[in-house]
């Protein structure tokens, strides 16, 4: 279960990055959440063969990573982790869609390859934006921001508990699985059956823990609602941040930024 443990440490690192103190870290979480939402909507709303117009969108995660002094290599590795899923989703496209859409010199590019590349680029963009947001803001602040933007409180509570107890549950599961491994001596043990009972026990233990937590909450005067969190300020800087990025995304959505830049550079050439 070393991999699970490693993944958890990684998750903790993402959270620790949010403790930084740069101008983008200090922005009200709502501003960052809003800008990221607009970004994601714009990116996913492009047509399936669009590729060149997507490229300029990389400016958003790149700018935030630079301004927040985040470790770019680490985040890129996280994005690469998701790449296999995107590839699995799009890999059949080149087989089915064989209409040639673009001629690059003697090379013919089919619609299938274009849409495949588009899927991969879109995944990279959205995942990079979401990870950057988390690394700049922290998971709990994002939840709070979503509540203040109108998400039902019950969802936020579920998410917060999930995040808090993910670590505890994964450690418990890891220990149980290691105990099983140590006594199965490289064989399969009783195979799936032993995993089933292991999972069952994990569920029961989680259940008992939930009961104890509820007891702890009641013991401290819990009556069904979480006390309101401290208020942040949605000031001029936040408004400017949201307006600037949203405007940029919408412009890039309506006009192909790469093409514009291309004409700008080559337009005067004969």
């Amino acid at each position: 279960m070393a991999s699970v443990h490693g993944a958890l440490l990684d998750l903790k690192r993402l959270d620790q990055l949010a403790a930084g103190d740069t101008a983008v870290h200090r922005l009200d979480p709502r501003a960052k959440v809003l800008a990221t939402l607009v970004f994601i909507v714009c990116v996913v709303s492009f047509g399936r063969y669009e590729l060149s117009a997507l490229i300029p969108f990389f400016i958003f995660p790149v700018c935030l990573i630079a301004a927040g002094r985040l470790p770019a290599g680490y985040l890129a590795a996280k994005v690469a982790l998701v790449a296999p899923f995107a590839i699995a989703v799009g890999i059949c496209n080149p087989l089915f869609d064989r209409t040639v859409l673009v001629h690059l010199g003697t090379l013919d590019i089919t619609g299938g390859w274009l849409s495949f590349a588009s899927i991969v680029v879109r995944t990279a963009l959205t995942v990079a934006a979401a990870l950057t947001l988390t690394a700049l803001t922290g998971f709990t602040s994002i939840c709070r921001a979503l509540v203040r933007l109108g998400m039902p409180k019950a969802f936020a509570m579920q998410l917060l508990f999930l995040y808090r107890y993910l670590f505890v549950l994964a450690e418990e599961g890891g220990r149980a699985s290691r105990a099983r491994e140590l006594r199965s001596f490289g064989r399969k043990g009783s195979g799936l059956a032993s995993y089933a009972s292991l999972l069952g026990h994990l569920l029961l233990r989680t259940w008992q823990r939930a009961e104890r937590m509820h007891m702890a909450m009641l013991a401290r005067g819990y009556t069904g609602t979480f006390p309101a969190a401290q208020v942040g300020r949605f000031g001029a800087r936040e408004v400017a941040f949201v307006l600037f990025w949203s405007a940029l995304f919408i412009i890039l959505r309506l006009y192909n930024g790469a093409e514009l830049l291309g004409t700008l550079v080559t337009g005067y050439l004969p």
Binding site: K12, D15, A19, T140, L160, F161, Y163, R164, F167, V168, R209, R212, M213, M215, A216, M217, L218, A219, R220, G221, Y222, T223, P227, A229
Partner: protein, 249 residues
């Protein structure tokens, strides 16, 4: 008016599966007293603790806090009066940061603004954990978790502090730190533990539970000298009262 702040009177509890966890438990705690409840595994310690803040209600008998019996109608009051520190701090620290966790109780009691900040800061200061305020609970060590768990309860200024195995799983330094902390509290305290050396230092009075009944109740030192009683209740003398392991004296 007597000076008893907690009275347990002929308490009996039977679990739904028929296990009679408490048969007949009677004792009381005075203002400022430190009482240890000790006993073998399954003697009924945890069941007893769950009655103190009304998580379990008695089948017969009563738990009285400041002369008012604990029942469904006054659970809130009972829970504020009795501060419960759980066996596993992970059960108790459920908020995203230490600060919010310590603030959870006071906020539910209606504190806000500067008053709330002062209350949280004071509770954290008492357990020497001010520097942990912004941290997430899963980033704390076991000793830090334990101290913060105590702060979450202290912030509600309870009249009685109830602790379930507070030194469990702590390294010697963290254990020593915690013992110093407990000695400094002038609260009424009820502590259950298998760490009898800690009991010897922290509690002047000890109640011995065995199979759901109170087998002995008296000054800690006297009880720990009664070897026959301890053996019968599946306990043994604290290590500090046993002979030197080298020379046997």
């Amino acid at each position: 008016m007597s000076h008893h702040i907690l009275e347990i009177d002929h308490l009996r509890h039977v679990y739904p599966d028929g296990t009679e966890a408490l048969r007949e438990v009677t004792f009381s705690v005075c203002h400022g007293e430190s009482v240890a409840v000790i006993g073998a595994n399954g003697a009924g310690k945890s069941t007893l603790l769950a009655h103190l803040n009304g998580h379990l209600l008695p089948h017969s008998g009563e738990v009285r806090i400041g002369h008012a019996p604990v029942d469904r109608s006054n659970l809130h009051e009972a829970r504020r009066t009795v501060g419960m520190v759980f066996h596993d701090p992970d059960d108790q620290l459920f908020m995203p940061t230490v600060y919010e966790d310590v603030a959870f109780g006071p906020m539910n009691l209606g504190l806000t603004g500067v008053e709330l900040q002062n209350c949280v800061a004071a509770a954290l200061r008492r357990v020497d954990a001010e520097h942990l305020a912004g941290k997430a609970p899963y980033n704390l060590s076991a000793g830090e978790k334990r101290r913060v768990a105590i702060a979450t309860v202290l912030s509600m200024s309870p009249d009685i502090l109830v602790m379930d195995e507070p030194t469990n799983g702590l390294d010697p330094y963290a254990r020593r730190q915690l013992i110093g902390l407990l000695k400094d509290f002038h609260h009424s305290k009820i502590v259950t533990s298998h760490d009898l050396d800690m009991v010897l230092e922290v509690c002047e009075r000890t109640v011995v539970l065995s199979q759901g009944v109170v087998r002995a109740d008296g000054p800690t030192l006297e009880i720990f000298r009664d070897e026959a009683l301890l053996r019968e209740c599946r306990l043994e003398k604290p290590l500090s009262m046993q002979g030197c392991p080298v020379c046997g004296k």
